[in-house]
Amino acid sequence: MTEQELLFGLRQGEESAFKELVTRFQDRVFNTALGLLQHHTEAEDIAQEVFIQVYRSIQSFKGESLLSTWIYRITVTKSLDHLRSKKRKKRFGLLGSLFGDDNKPAYEPEDFNHPGVLQEKKEDAAILFKMIDLLPENQRAAFILNKVEDLSYREIAAILNTTESAVDSLLQRAKMNLRKKLNEFPP
């Protein structure tokens, strides 16, 4: 099925077209969300939300960009929105009480292990993900899209609605910040 055929089917509300869309993009969406959120369950939830959003908004997709660009853009937006929401809850949670309803700590920092990292690099990658968690949103998004999702500067620029030179700048600053934080690690 070509992209045009897929879009036509989606706009007609065809189940087979939607299934094809999900099959084609689920791994990319999940991997991107996982890299940004560093949490398997949340990444799956967000990935589902992405496809629900695509299903609802397909009529408004004008085809000015590639379908993949649009889907990645929704993925990044929803993932970053989720991160912001989590940070807000964490802030209020710490102000209120340290313990939740189940008498567990409201904030439980975890070491994140991406399933695709080579075995011999898992420990180092877990540290790197911790440092990525401290980056500003745009640097974080650019870094994950480039290093984890292996997208080109051109693709990233389309997704983030910016220029390739701006993407290059974001990545340079991200690397600089990561090195700086590693040199300060542990805080």
Partner: protein, 112 residues
Amino acid sequence: MQNKFSEERVLSIMESFGGIQPAVAPDFFYTRLRAKMQPVEEKRRFFMLRPAFITATLAVLLIANVISLFQTDKMPHRPLREKQDPTVVNSKPATIESFAAAYNMTTGSVYE
């Protein structure tokens, strides 16, 4: 006590994503997605049956009726002579009295 990484370690960490393979979506992702979408589709279908929607629609109709009643009230009254003379052409809707007068009947005989 400082516990900083060596430059070599920093470099190793910065390059730890080398050779990374993309994660795969969980099993039965599509099935779970469709299950999650079910309430969304049903909500859309049954939206028009929701009390809030019905109430809002009725309120709009009621307000439209009230406005049209006020508009009718504001229209100027005709002189009594015009009301009684059925041959006078006017824009007001025909009353049963004018209908009876036009056919030389009384209102009682109209209803018979």
